[in-house]
Amino acid sequence: MSFIIVVGGGQVGKNVTRTLLELGHEVVVLEQRRDRYLLLDEEFGHRARYGDGTELSVLEGAGIKRPAEIVVAVTGDDEDNIIICQLAKELYGVSKIVARVNDPRNQVHFDLLGVAPTVSATEMVMALVQHEMPQHELVHLVQLRPENLEIVEVEVGKECPAAGKRVEQLRLPGSARLISVMRDGTAEIAVGSTELRAGDQVLAILEPGGEPELRRLLVGEKKR
């Protein structure tokens, strides 16, 4: 059982709190809007607290100094989520944080200030939408930020260097590895002898920045 502080009691914070409590964790949820707090109070009682979770006194009142094992910053304001995580980590020594990114354009700020891991609903929805689109070339499915890795899906192009070759014959960019190959609705783990054909859906893991080279190899030259 862990002691977890959830800052922000909107839809995300409320459901996270409920789920954590069901799993047997000790949770305090902070909310600065009175109307939202009253709803939280009805459901969670003393585990809900009213106040601005970017105020040191409010965080301390919630027990952050014990310290909390995890702080989850899921308010609707990205600047607040960044500050909450900086305070938690750097002032109170909380070892694990999770931050919500509301506007994906702010992701760069979270990265710059070392606030990780982050979760962005927009990014996750977009990855799934693109995944469902016919004829996508390269889609980012998962970002593993602490590891500096990402998982992408690539559709093998008709006229690319990789079509008709086995995985072991490919000159993959330094950090990239193929995970699986899906053809006609069936996926197989990619091994050295796996042959690639045009139209295959390939999952690959790589360091961010390796996409252009992977694209050239698996998709081919971009049509203009």
């Binding site: 970017t54 304001d77 600047e79 607040d80 960044i82 500050i83 305070l87 354009r105 760069v108 710059l112």
Partner: protein, 136 residues
């Protein structure tokens, strides 16, 4: 010398006007057009509407070539994030930020930018007045 002022409220707009009068090239960013009104009828400098955390806006406003960035929106947390972006991402030589909350002002005090807390200034000034009176 070029200055970027983020937030054109009472403090930001007055700072922008004073810097301009002192001969600086001043660019102002604010969330609303009202920020431009506060700069007076004939504001000669650039003015951009948008949120201070929008790095495309900051770049359009010339943050990368600014000698000075002053951050004074009405949100402490926005101010602290923008100040850190200015210092870490754009390596602006001098960055100063207004933070109302003394506790957060103290925590962010030693990060390569100046933190000014008007709340602290008011407490100090009023306490000095009160205690001076008591001592005499």
């Amino acid at each position: 010398m070029k200055a970027l002022v983020v937030g054109s409220g009472r403090v930001g707009s007055a700072l922008a006007k004073r810097l301009h009068a002192a001969g600086w090239e001043v660019v102002v960013v604010d969330e609303t057009e009202e920020g431009l009104e506060r700069l007076g009828e004939k504001w000669p400098g650039e003015f951009h509407v948008g949120h201070g955390m929008d790095f495309e806006l900051l770049e359009a406003a010339g943050i990368a070539s600014a000698d000075l960035v002053l951050v004074a929106t009405d949100g402490d947390n926005t101010n602290l994030v923008v100040a850190q972006i200015a210092k870490l991402r754009y390596e602006v030589p001098k960055v100063a930020v207004r933070v109302q909350d003394p506790a957060r002002a103290a925590f962010y005090a030693n990060r390569g930018f100046d933190v000014v807390s008007p709340t602290n200034s008011a407490i100090e000034a009023l306490a000095a007045l009160a205690l001076d009176g008591e001592a005499s």
